[in-house]
């Protein structure tokens, strides 16, 4: 599905990631952990084609990312839902419009997708807030809206970068339950987080691989968690 093979990434003369090999199998659940600045966000960006590796291969749905045009990468991103810690909304659009944004940019029939949009908005508990503007939302509401936007295209893969970074424990548990539920529906999930307590709590509900970035390299963690 998405595969990194001996990937390295350098920026500003320094190597941030080195010799990374990773395969996201369909239906798998991964945690990516490591200290701040370890390169978690960089690795996620490599996984959805926002960055090009300086060495090695990145394959998005069996295609080498270097062979893809910008349009090809855009099409690939429609199969990858991304949730950022800062959510990245268009603040002049309503919550519902932000959730529907991937539909808008892919020329989908908005009327035909309306029921899907309502259902998803309800699933993340934002029906009452659909008309609000993003700055009016709480941290938890923003994260749920970002998750809904990531899901609206029914992607194969969901990549979440510190999705619980700005929310309290209760809300982070609620978000995790949503992600676990999605995984049970067959979605491939990867969550980058430095919150080990969250990982420990989630592991009782889902069979997840825990990966750690340490000294620019990716290691399998788990025994210590």
């Amino acid at each position: 599905m998405i595969e990194l093979e001996n990937v390295a990434y350098s920026y500003g003369g320094g190597e941030l990631l080195s010799d990374i090999t990773l395969r996201l199998q369909p239906g798998s659940f991964h945690f990516l952990t490591g200290p701040s600045g370890a390169g978690k966000t960089t690795l996620l960006k490599l996984l959805y084609g926002a960055l090009m590796p300086t060495a090695g291969f990145v394959r998005l749905f069996d295609a080498d990312v270097r062979d893809l045009t910008r349009d090809d990468i855009a099409l690939a991103r429609r199969r990858i839902g991304v949730v950022h810690q800062d959510c990245q909304f268009l603040n002049h659009l309503s919550v519902a419009e932000n959730i529907a944004l991937p539909l808008m940019v892919s020329d989908r029939d908005m009327l035909a997708e309306d029921a899907n949009l309502r259902e998803l908005t309800g699933w993340v508990g934002l029906t009452q807030r659909a008309g609000a503007l993003p700055p009016e939302l709480s941290g938890g509401e923003r994260q749920r809206a970002a998750l809904a936007r990531a899901l609206i295209m029914s992607p194969d893969v969901i990549l979440a970068d510190e999705p619980t970074g700005n929310v309290d424990w209760e809300m982070s548990q609620r978000l995790m339950r949503l992600l676990v539920e999605l995984n049970r529906m067959g979605k491939t999930i990867m969550i980058a987080t430095h919150d080990l307590a969250l990982i420990r709590a989630a592991k009782s509900h889902v069979q997840a691989r825990v990966l750690r970035i340490s000294n620019r390299r990716l290691q399998l963690a788990g025994a210590d968690l």
Binding site: D71, H84, E97, L101, M110
Partner: protein, 297 residues
């Protein structure tokens, strides 16, 4: 054609994703309008000078004037002799002596309507209209020198050529002005589009994150700036046409220029100004947007 129709109809979603920028929008519309206003004047100038050049170049080239200065009592005889010479000169279609009334009308702008022309030693003017390839001016001058010693042939070349040259230069200036105006519109809209693209970098990032193709993002910006160019230039063109239409006519003022303005179907020319402005805005914004997106990670 379908693409053009789709572009004009627009995509409500794409129109919404780029936030409105009130001040920049008004500046762009105002700049496009002002440039269109100037373009209409440049167009009117070019067309008017083209008419002048044609008139001076063609109409005056087909005519010339014979001026006969003779002592009182000989004027009639010399005029008759000149007309006889002209009547037998190949290339002269017709020649006629101007009446006293006509000569008074020619002098009226300088001396007023009550000039006692009969009491003044005013030369007799003979209008010559040419045919075919015209007459041999040097040969005619020799014949006139022999038979009508008081006659001076003025074939208009002396003053017609500089005027035609000046009119042609003015026309060229008008077209150069139009090109400069189009370039200025392009530059202004490119600057505005670049500013908008830079200000909306975060929005472009979000659009890419959710799978928007570059063509979608480009279209969102291009359509907005093209419409601003069209709207501004449309308003400027209407105002420019009104201003040109309100210019005093030469028939009233009797001035030298034949009238800065449009005549007949030339009034259709200003319609091209908003279209040209829209096209300039379209290509300028598209180039700016594509360049920006190419340079973005």
């Amino acid at each position: 054609m379908d693409r053009l129709r789709g572009f004009l109809a627009g995509d409500p979603g794409a129109d919404r994703v780029v936030p409105p920028t009130g001040f920049t929008a008004w500046l762009t519309i105002f700049a496009a309008g002002a440039m269109a206003f100037l373009a209409v004047f440049a167009l009117a100038l070019s067309l008017a000078t083209a008419r002048l050049a044609d008139r001076w170049g063609d109409a005056l080239a087909r005519s010339s004037t014979l001026r006969i200065s003779a002592p009182e009592g000989q004027m009639m005889a010399q005029t008759d002799a000149a007309l006889k010479v002209l009547g037998t000169t190949p290339g002269v279609a017709r020649a006629r002596a101007l009446t006293g009334e006509e000569q008074r009308a020619l002098l009226e702008p300088w001396f007023g309507p009550d000039l006692p022309i009969e009491t003044l030693p005013i030369p007799q003017l003979v209008e010559i209209v040419e045919e075919g390839r015209g007459y041999d001016a040097a040969g005619l001058r020799l014949r006139l020198a022999a038979e009508v010693p008081g006659a001076i042939l003025d074939d208009h070349t002396r003053w017609r050529e500089p005027l035609v040259r000046a009119a042609s230069r003015l026309r060229l200036l008008g077209w150069v002005s139009l090109i400069l105006i189009a370039g200025t519109v392009g530059a202004i809209i490119t600057l505005a589009a670049n500013a908008a693209l830079a200000a909306n970098g975060q929005i472009i990032g979000v659009l890419r994150l959710v799978g928007a193709r570059d063509s979608y993002i480009v279209q969102a910006f291009v359509r907005r700036f093209t419409l601003r160019g069209l709207i501004g230039a449309g308003a400027g063109t209407v105002l420019g046409c009104i201003a040109v239409a309100l210019l005093p006519r030469t028939e009233v003022g009797g001035g030298f220029l034949t009238g800065l303005g449009f005549q007949g179907w030339h009034w259709l020319w200003p319609l091209t100004v908003p279209l040209l402005s829209g096209a300039v805005a379209f290509f300028a914004t598209r180039a700016a947007a594509q360049r920006t997106l190419r340079d973005m990670p």
